[in-house]
């Protein structure tokens, strides 16, 4: 077995993933080759160093917190925040629509309450948020009427 092949096999040999026959060949080579032996020692030292750093301490209430989260009706804070964010977007878009419409001199919102349309917008890959868009807002952006009688 030449040095190149031994170097390629060192990691798998260290991980105990090499075929036993190949592993014996690598070990035999390491006994006689100082360069490959140095590579092996370096790799052993690296894994030793990696294992030196202890795992993070687990929160003693971790399982209790997980089990609390499974209870029906438990809403996680980040979900409440998402809901608040969606509500904020909803209100902001409506306000923007009314403001733009007022500045363009169009009819007041109360004059055409049925004019509001809704379109679905994909906010997250797995979450569908509903965003309301006033029809007059669409008109202002597109510059033409949408389904106007």
């Amino acid at each position: 077995m030449n040095c190149q092949r031994v170097i390629r096999s060192l990691s798998a040999c260290q991980d105990g993933e090499l075929d036993p026959a190949l592993s014996r060949q690598v070990e035999g080579h390491l006994e006689n080759c100082r360069a490959c032996r140095a590579e092996w020692d370096g790799m052993q030292e690296l894994v030793g160093r990696l294992r030196l750093s202890p795992p993070p301490a687990l929160d003693p209430f971790f399982s209790a917190r997980v089990m609390d989260g499974l209870r029906p009706g438990t809403v996680k804070p980040f979900r409440l925040l998402s809901a608040a964010a969606y509500a904020l977007i909803f209100v902001a878009v409506f306000l923007a629509g009314f403001l733009l419409q007022t500045s363009a001199g169009g009819p007041t919102p109360s004059a055409s309450p049925a004019a509001a349309t809704y379109s679905a917008v994909l906010l997250e890959p797995q979450e569908l948020g509903l965003l309301a868009v006033h029809e007059d807002t669409l008109k202002l952006f597109s510059g033409r009427d949408h389904g106007q009688k």
Binding site: R8, L10, S11, A12, D15, E17, G42, M43, L46, V47, R49, L50, R51, L52, S53, P55, P56, A57, L58, D59, F62, S63, R65, V66, M67, G69, L70
Partner: protein, 199 residues
């Protein structure tokens, strides 16, 4: 019955049969390994607990999709891996937009600084190893962490990641070589190789 003697599949069957509280057995059985895995991947011990909590919620919600083959470990590590990678992607986006707006975030593992789970008084060498771990590509880091810290076999890593065994072998071998090179460079006063090549 002694919960230690129950296999994962038996516990899953009990949970699916209506005994939801038995899910805690699985949480206790796997929580430290899941948190350990996520903490190594993110270099953020506190965030790891929070992500791990979401991982267990997701596992609970998807328990019906688990096919009993005495391979629950692969099932949950697959979910943990996906959620951790999603979190890392979100962090990258946050860092990107924050830089775009001219602000630097206080907390971002991509700054390549000392991770929070290593207190400052810990040995410098130990911190350096964790820092160098974060310099690896996500694939190399994932494979190395599963092998070195979780002591998974290549076959088990294949079940979690879906990669072929030769790919796993290459990823781990390159990760070790890169880390070794970077540590040597740093100790001799040079700069680390910051951009890990793909695979």
């Amino acid at each position: 019955m002694d919960e230690q003697k129950l296999t994962d599949d038996e516990v899953v069957a009990a949970v699916l049969g209506g005994r939801s509280r038995d899910f805690e057995i699985l949480v206790r059985r796997y929580s430290s390994r899941i948190v350990h895995f996520i903490a190594r991947m993110t270099a953020d011990g506190d965030e790891a607990q929070s992500i791990a909590q979401d991982v267990f919620l997701k596992i609970f919600q998807n328990l019906a999709y688990y096919r009993a083959q005495n391979n629950f470990s692969a099932f949950i590590f697959k979910i943990a891996r996906n959620m951790t990678l999603n979190w890392l992607q979100r962090q990258k986006r946050t860092v990107f937009f924050s830089r775009l707006l001219g602000r630097e975030l206080d907390k971002a593992p991509f700054r390549q600084e000392t991770p929070r789970f290593s207190p400052q008084d810990r040995r410098e060498r130990e911190d350096a190893v964790t820092r160098h771990l974060m310099l690896l590509s996500e694939e190399q880091r994932l494979a190395l962490i599963l092998k070195v810290y979780l002591e998974f076999s290549y076959k088990q890593i294949r079940e979690v990641t879906g990669w072929s065994v030769p790919k796993i072998e290459t990823l781990i071998s390159r990760a070790k070589s890169r880390m070794k090179k970077n540590i040597l460079l740093q100790e001799s006063g040079g700069e680390s190789v910051n951009h890990a090549r793909k695979q």
